[in-house]
Amino acid sequence: MEVRDDGGGKVIGLIEKATKSSAQEVDPRLLKAIKSTLRYSDSEVRVAAKTLMELMKHKHSQVRLLTLLIIDELFMRSKLFRTLIVEKFDNLLSLSVGFRTSLPLPAPPAVATVLRTKAIEFLEKWNLSFGLHYKEIRLGFDHLKNTLKLKFPDLQANAARRQRERLEREMKTKEILRSKFESLRDGFGVLKGEIEETVKEIKEGLEIVQWRGDDGVPLAILDEEDYEEIRCSHLRQIRMDSLKQSDKVEETSENRVVFDVLREQGKLLMKKHLVSVQEGISLLIKVDVSDNRTRDSMLKELIDIRNDILATEKKCEEAGFVISRIIDTPEKEEDEDEDIWEDDDGKVGTDPVKNVAPLARVQNGEGSSLQSPSAANRSTLESTSNKAPSTKMVRRSGDPLRDKLISEAPIMNWGSQLSSWDSTTEVRANHRGLELESHWGRVDQDAVIPADKIAELNLQASVYREERTEIPPCHAPLKKGALCQRRDLRACPFHGPIVPRDDEGNPIIIEESQNKTSSTTEINQEDVSMDETTSDSDPNQLARKIAKQALKNIREQDKEELRKRAKRAKHAKVKEHNFSVLRDAAMASTSKSAVIDEEFDRVFAERKNKKQTFSLGRRKKTTAKDRISERLLSNRAKGTKPKQMPQGNDDEKYRETSANQW
């Protein structure tokens, strides 16, 4: 360092000027001037350190703040300045942080807070960069942090934490990518095969269609003759458009099947394959695997496939059909489909195009291109309407296996779960495309919901729907002559169990069943009924039935009797018990029991007058009578005990002997 001592003092003016401002920051020009002054002069540094320390003692937070800012600037730069400042580091800290209660920070309070936070921040910064070389800084930092428990911004730890989190997130992403890559590699052949198949099919279909379309072209050329005739400019315009579309193929009854297949395949291609290919490409670009060669070759192949698909799409477009690339709106697709179906139902008549140009419709069948553009757009509709009844059949019969499967398949409700049917990929939980900072804390960007959880979430709950069955009416004949119209499941409350009846209300089941019911209800008339039944047809069967019934009845009677007997026994027991209890109570009837009684009374009384609670405490006192009875009771207990003891001993003895025997 070039030491050029020019007496000093220049810096004092600069510093004083810089600290006189009322801004939150030091004037950068002044700061620069100070720095450049100090850079080449040690004595100026000394002077500056002294001046700044003096200024720190100024009884105004604003001055202190600016001084502190200058100190920080110089502290980070000059070693000499550091050594000078560090000598009175505790002073500086107490003046800037104001941690000594005897030396609080001066007014104004708002600036004082800023000063304090700045000072703490600086202290941490200084400690980080120079703490190792200056024990004083370490001590000050340690004191404020560990003794006074001041809160530091903890820059380093924060940065470290952030770094760690980022690394973790990256690792996770990488892991996910890698697993995706693995699955892609595993399924690559299949995917490729599928796509190639589809592309091939589409190409073939296109070839077929276009070959047919070739027939149409000459027709269009033929129409050239009519060209002159159409004078109206509007019509000409229309014609020009239609000519442009001449290479587009119209869907006709003949190529309907092909078209359907084409459309389906196209949709498949655009919706599924293109998307998966593009995903694969982006994945391969992002993923970082050791096996670079496979990745590159896969990437190449995928790009080829994508180009292939795009080419096919272009071809399709050239051929006249737009394969909807809008993936997110399957409903629209559905609508289109529905349009087709609706046309079947006979919207035909209201079709304005048809009304306007019936001729075109006629020519349509021959593959003519003489159509207004609107008609061309509508051509698919019209053609379907032409062949209305057959379309459905064609569609149905298109793929027998599919039809079979469809007939078997359960009907599912439409929902988002259909799109992730059978998928085993993980879903990112916090991925919404937008980089939004959450207001509720940090968000784990890489949280994934595992596939099995997704499956669990998408678990289809089917609600059991009861099949509606017609509950037959009771149909018992009413007094008025009409039939009972009550619909009960088993028994009508008025007419008993519901039985099938004829139109007049008579039960259809043969008489005997009725008899049976009567016999069950009337046990006493058993014999009579038996007599009656015997007179009926099929005597053998009847006899058996009656015998059974009789047996049953008898058994039931027996049972009843048994039950009654048991009941009686129980009653007797209960009575006995009650009696004994009562007797005991009578014997031990002391003031305690009296208390209980009284308490009962009291409870009743309380219900009448709730304020009589104090009587409780008074009545709980034991009386002399009580004590005597207690003693008597205990004596009695003593007297009984010896009697019981031998019994127990006998028992034990027996047990012992038996144990020996065993």
Binding site: M1, K32, K35, S36, R39, M76, R77, S78, K79, L80, R82, E87, K88, F89, D90, S129, F130, L132, H133, Y134, K135, E136, L139, G140, D142, H143, T147
Partner: protein
């Protein structure tokens, strides 16, 4: 430096003076050490520090959280920043968690002077414990009548193992480790005793400073105290030269008598020893001494007995290494230097600021240059012992400093205070420092970006 070594080699300087030169140079350059850190295990203010007397290596500290710890000052346990900062963790510590640990603040922790196998702690829980260093177990404990403020063991003692204990109680007790009982109870102070110091010249002499402001000298072979220091009994200058000729003596004594303070004391003496008055002050003094001891002892005159050394409590005592002087710190924020022989205040003015008043402080001295290290609130000041001028100032503590302890073998100063830190002040600009300086890391260099 090299020149000095060469001159020592050639014999131009004697080894002793060479080492003294070196030491004094080192001492005068003491500064906060950046390379040595004691990792304080204490969670309270550190009240006591002592380097052991045998090896000068192990530092014993006692703190208000009831813990005491021993540090190795020479071998670091680990280091930080690639060896730049040596961390000294405590070798062991005993705290409240220890089964025999002190319940309250440890106010004093001293080494057994003979070896490092024992150390003594005194605590506010009224106990003095003697610990076996190797097992970290308390081997003896003494139950004191009050909070123990200070304990001391004689560094010279060959014939006794007594712990002098200054407590809340007015009596100073001497605890005998050998018997495990109190051998002496020294009564005389009118208030608790904050500081206790053994003489460095006689193993029988004990100095105690009480909260009543008195400093008493005890000869433990005899009953009662034999001297009470009086701040008004003064002598100008450090020590009256030992004179052989009365003529010179007269001059000196004349000077002395004119200097005021002493006259008051002399007058009562002169009544009894009037005839001897002409013999010269030293002999007079000696005879006065003798007669007073004879006459006053053990009762002493109540007027003498009431003399005070400080206004307020005596918070610290330190005998110089040669045993001739006694330094005392008082709550009147004064340091006084006493001649132990005459018992006179030397009237030396130490430029102290404020001293801690409510707590015992620990002073330290160094021989050459003769410095006194005094904790003055948050700083530690080094005063010239004969000048009283501040020669060094050690700023580093964030709370008031309680103790300082000078390690004369390494010329290092250890200070500790209420901020729980134990700071090391080591000679700056030393050889190893210079060596490190050369390869200094780029982080701590000038960094002018613009």
């Amino acid at each position: 430096m090299w020149q000095a070594i060469q001159s020592r080699e050639t014999g131009r300087t004697r080894p002793n003076s060479f080492s003294n030169q070196l030491k004094s140079r080192r001492i005068s350059s003491l500064q906060l050490s950046n390379r040595k850190d004691f990792v304080s295990p204490h969670r309270g203010s550190v009240n006591s520090l002592q380097v052991d007397l045998t090896e000068g290596r192990y530092l014993l500290s006692g703190a208000s959280d009831g813990s005491a710890a021993v540090f190795d000052t020479q071998r670091a346990t680990d280091s930080e920043a690639s060896g730049l900062i040596a961390k000294h963790k405590c070798v062991f510590s005993v705290d409240k968690g220890h089964e025999h640990g002190h319940k309250f603040a440890v106010s004093s922790a001293v080494w057994y002077p003979i070896d490092t196998g024992l150390f003594v702690t005194g605590s506010f829980d009224h106990l003095i414990k003697v610990w076996d260093t190797n097992t970290a177990q308390a081997v003896v404990d003494f139950k004191m009548p009050g909070k123990v403020y200070r304990t001391a063991m004689s560094s010279l003692a060959m014939s006794h193992t007594l712990i002098a204990a200054g407590t809340e109680d007015v009596q100073v007790r001497l605890c005998d480790i050998a018997s495990g009982a109190f051998s002496h109870t020294l009564s005389g102070h009118r208030d608790g005793v904050m500081s206790v110091e053994w003489s460095t010249s006689s193993e029988w002499v004990l100095y105690t400073g009480g909260c009543d402001g008195a400093i008493r000298f005890w000869d433990i072979r005899r009953a009662g105290c034999f001297r009470v220091l009086d701040q008004s009994v003064t002598q100008l200058g450090v020590r009256p030269p030992i004179l052989k000729h009365t003529a010179v003596n007269n001059k000196v004594s004349a000077e002395k008598s004119s200097s005021g303070g002493k006259n008051r004391l002399k007058t009562p003496q002169s009544k009894h020893t009037g005839s001897q008055n002409m013999k010269g002050s030293s002999s007079v003094k000696a005879s006065v001494e003798k007669s007073r001891q004879k006459r006053l002892h053990p009762g002493m005159l109540s007027t003498l007995d009431r003399a005070t050394a400080h206004y307020g409590a005596v918070t610290g005592l330190k005998a110089t290494n040669d045993g001739m002087y006694l330094l005392s710190a008082g709550s009147d924020s004064r340091i006084k230097l006493w001649d132990t022989q005459s018992g006179c205040n030397t009237l030396l003015n130490f430029e102290t600021g404020r001293l801690q008043t409510n707590k015992a402080i620990q002073l330290a001295t160094s021989d050459d240059p003769a410095l006194v290290f005094v904790p003055c609130m948050k700083t530690v000041n080094a005063f010239g012992m004969w000048s009283g001028r501040t020669t060094l100032m050690f700023r580093g503590h964030y709370e008031s400093v309680n103790t300082c302890c000078f390690n004369s073998t390494d010329q290092e100063l250890y200070t500790s205070g209420a901020d729980r830190q134990i700071l090391v002040w080591s000679p700056g600009g030393s050889m190893e420092d210079d060596m490190v300086q050369d390869e200094e890391v780029a982080e701590d260099k000038d960094n002018w970006s613009d």
